[in-house]
């Protein structure tokens, strides 16, 4: 279970009067819950995920993961139990290293790394099995450098790597935004399968309102560093994209003509 209270983060950039990227976020995610996050560009979605992952220290607030206070833990420490997939497929895998080397590193998440061989006959077998379920034929290309794979294949690999050692929390930040629609849909299906099979507690940022409602158990909307809407259950089941836009208008008192305001085009 993830519990966040009163989370604040302001980026100070070159003396310009800073605006809070996170301005008091409270969030509770139940074990096994799959939450989708939407919001306009610059709403603070990535900042929230980065704060949880520990990419930077927060200014105020507390982050509890399974009742453990991780607020002040360095990024690499909490990475032991937080899986991540980034928007950019180049970021989530090591291009110059082979498929099996990438997965071997993922198998060591949260363990002490020593001078044992990274790849053994046993770990190779395990790697093959976890790749075979993807149905991409990657299990036959273990020695192939990841740089030769397509963006979709790399993102599938990144997803497997993030979940190979079961994380207590999975963070997905627009992990299909850089892919073509068909490939994106495949990665979404894969995400759904892995998350439901493993019962992973998941936060997924998406720029697709439709996707946000279709996937997972709950949808939250962020605006100017705060969570302004949270819907789940039957209420959410009946919701359409239009309703989400309507909610946005009501909550913020601004005129939204189409969903362009909510569509995030870049990181």
């Amino acid at each position: 279970m993830l519990e966040i209270a009163n989370l604040h983060k302001t980026f100070v950039v070159g003396g310009v009067a800073p605006r809070g990227a996170l301005a008091g976020v409270d969030l509770k995610v139940l074990p096994g819950e799959f939450v989708t996050i939407i919001g306009s560009n610059g709403a603070g979605k990535s900042t929230l995920l980065n704060a949880i992952a520990g990419v930077f220290p927060v200014d105020r607030g507390i982050i509890l993961l399974d009742n453990e206070d991780i607020t002040l833990q360095p990024e690499h420490k909490r990475a032991a139990y937080i899986g991540r997939v980034f928007q950019n497929p180049l970021q989530g895998t090591a291009a110059s290293m082979t498929i099996e080397e990438n997965l071997a590193m993922a198998m060591r998440r949260g363990q002490r790394r020593g001078l044992k061989r990274g790849l053994t006959a046993r770990s190779r077998k395990q790697i093959k099995e976890s790749l075979a379920v993807l149905g991409l034929g990657l299990e036959d290309r273990l020695q192939c450098p990841v740089g030769l794979l397509s963006g979709g294949q790399r993102q599938a690999l990144a997803l497997v790597m993030a979940t190979l050692v079961r994380p207590r929390l999975l963070l997905l930040d627009e992990h299909t935004a850089a892919l073509d629609p068909t490939t994106a849909e495949q990665i979404i299906l894969l995400t759904q399968r892995i998350v439901s099979q493993e019962g992973l507690t998941t936060l997924m940022v998406t720029h697709s309102l439709d996707q946000a409602l279709r996937l997972g158990d709950r949808t939250i909307m962020m605006h100017e560093g705060q969570i302004v809407l949270s819907v789940s259950g039957p209420e959410r089941a009946q919701m359409g994209v239009e309703d989400l836009l309507e909610e946005f208008r009501k909550l913020r008192g601004v005129q939204v003509t189409d969903d362009s305001l909510l569509l995030t085009t870049s990181a």
């Binding site: 690499h76 990475a79 937080i82 991540r84 980034f86 090591a94 290293m97 790394r113 061989r117 790849l119």
Partner: protein, 325 residues
Amino acid sequence: MLSFALISGSIEQGLAYGIMALGVFITYRVLQFADLTVDGTFPLGAAVAASLIVSGTSPFVACLVAMLAGMLGGALTGFLHTKLRIAGLLAGILTMTGLYSVNLRIMGRANIPLLRQPTVFTILEELLPKVPYLQLLVLLLLAVVIKLLLDAFLATDIGLAMRATGDSPEMIRSLGVDTEAMTIAGLSLANGLVAFSGALVAQYQGFADVGMGIGTVVVGLASVIIGTGIIRSHAVFHSTLGVLVGAIIYRLAIFFALRMGLEPTDLRIMTAVLVIAALALPTVKTRWRERRLSRLVASENARLLAEGYVGQKEEAGCVRDSQSA
């Protein structure tokens, strides 16, 4: 007629400097960090080894202490870069600059001759007097063992994490690796090898000199670029082999350049030009291809315009308008 005896010296130097090039490979290729510390840790290794040998320490122990000193130098650059956020190039330059004074302090003067001192080579020659090309064999054995150890290390869990630190730091951090610690460890290991190489070279050439470090990193880069250019492969085993081969080819190239009348003082500019050429080659190739392509497009477009495929109506209208105006 060129005899092997004539070029064996170049091969020996190639192997001795090849160990330094393996260090440069770790920073430049594995960590993707242009580390100039090398110009300070190479003479540091020589200075430490020479001083210890002169004061009666075993040359073997002297080599190991030299290596440790180099590791400290590399770790310092890593510390400056990761913990104090000083840009990588500058961090290396700062350590290198500081080490110049340190090296002078260690030696107490600018040059220590080792001509009548025991070295790893003289000791082994006394032990095995009948072996031909002993010096070459010793250096070959050392270089190959170090290469194989490095290969094995880069295949361990830590080694994989170190490679990923250079390739995709966000990814490997998200898998629980402290990339700052990895960078420091990698720089330390690399400069340990560089200093070890410096210690060997001092004993090989019979002196340590405070100025012997100038241009070391460029020689290392030349070896890495030549070697990995000849042996193209993603596999670490091939890359490190390439680095050693590259270091030998570099020495042989110098040998022949000198024989063809090049002044020894011009060696450094030759090396610099070589590295510039190797680094610029991909860009120049692309530019050239683009230029040729745009020339093709231009002539094709000229033809399209001349044949009235495109542009005729608008052009006619323009002409008429300007005439009526």
